[in-house]
Amino acid sequence: MDAIKSYLDNVFANLPKTDAVLKAKAEMMANMEEKYLHFKKDGLSEHEAVGRVIAEFGSIDELLAELNVAPASSTPGTASSKARQVSREEAVEYVNQKRQSGILIGLGVFMCIAGVAALILINQIGFMGHGHGQFAHAQARPVLGVVVLLLMVAAAVGIFIYAGMRLSKFEFLEGDFTLPAHLQKEIEDKKDAFTPSFTVAIIIGVSLCILAPLLILLPFLLTGPGVLAPYWVVAMLLTVATAVFVFVYAGSIKEAYDKLLKTGDYSRQPDQKFTNAVSSVIWPLAIMSYLLLGFLGDYWGKAWIIFPVAVFLSIAISAIAKFVRKE
């Protein structure tokens, strides 16, 4: 039955959507559907039934003459000359590339956050060793931490650039493009099939985001501020990093489908930009404050508190931004 519908969609794809044309299409769809069901009842296979219905369709030119519709637009390159037609291979490859770049970009973001976690971890080991009087050694630790952070961020930037380059050949999707009707249908089906996975990914991501602050709060409530607190900060950062990876990966695939189908949830875009802007201010500030407090005030043992605060701030500000925008 779907085959008949996509056949008709295809035949009517390039025709003007006038009332008369749409009425003809609906009426013929109904007739063909009943004919198909009748053939099936007579014992024909799915394949044979569809084949016969389509064989008995006739010539679209006859209908066009009757409806006074110029068949001009059925020849490619007149009505849709400016819009680039996307082929099946291109669409499939685009979705694949978006999936891969989702992994890459997610990994890059993960590395940036993991870099901060590594900085705290290395300093914490340094701070704990500080008490044993190895001053020069202890001062070298934060420097090592910063170096590790910078290396990880540099690697992440490399990954971002690489992922961007791989997607650059799909730049034509930013302009005007069209999908053939059958391809549109195929991608809609694929998107529908992906939706449950996307929902699961979002649930996992959100659960991790809820878990992250608990990783700080629970040990604090249970045992008070102990010496292990910084390690919980590290665990929290890695949890957030995992959540971000899941969001980026699933979001990238969804974005690919939305772009092809032009169904993007554009109302969400400004929120995303705002959140990104807030993050790009808060995190460098937090890292700078941490390093300044550490190097100038030698507060390595306490300054890590900045990172949970930064996480709370980012989550709170983006939540408020979303709320305000909805109002």
Binding site: A24, E27, M28, A30, N31, M32, E34, K35, H38, E56, F57, G58, S59, I60, E62, L63, A65, E66, L67
Partner: protein, 110 residues
């Protein structure tokens, strides 16, 4: 079993459809099914031909459409013949008689 070609029968689709609707109102698929059955599968009308003919007859006021529920509660577009349609049908019948007799005067198979 040979099938009739759409070219030969082109001028008579209107007549065939009107003759069926003279019996009782009907809808798209049923009309094509009746044509298939009555002609003993020697004429199978194409979807585009059927819709074009119905559309033409309706525009000329020979048939009119209305919605009605069929089996399984599906809403169908039914067509019924109008008074003008019956008059037109009789004219077309006379034209067919004339055509038939003229053509017959030329046809000698042996």
């Amino acid at each position: 079993m040979t099938m009739i070609s759409s070219d030969v029968i082109r001028g008579y689709n209107d007549l065939i459809i009107l003759s069926l609707l003279r019996e009782q109102p009907s809808y798209g698929y049923d009309i094509s099914r009746q044509i298939r059955t009555i002609s003993e599968e020697r004429y199978i009308i194409k979807e585009t031909t059927l819709y074009s003919a119905i559309n033409r007859l309706e525009k000329q006021g020979f048939i009119e459409s209305y919605f009605a529920h069929g089996e399984f509660g599906r809403v169908r577009t039914y067509y019924r013949i109008t008074a003008a349609g019956r008059t037109y049908y009789r004219e077309k019948c006379r034209e067919w008689d004339l055509t038939k007799s003229v053509i017959n005067q030329f046809i000698r198979e042996s």
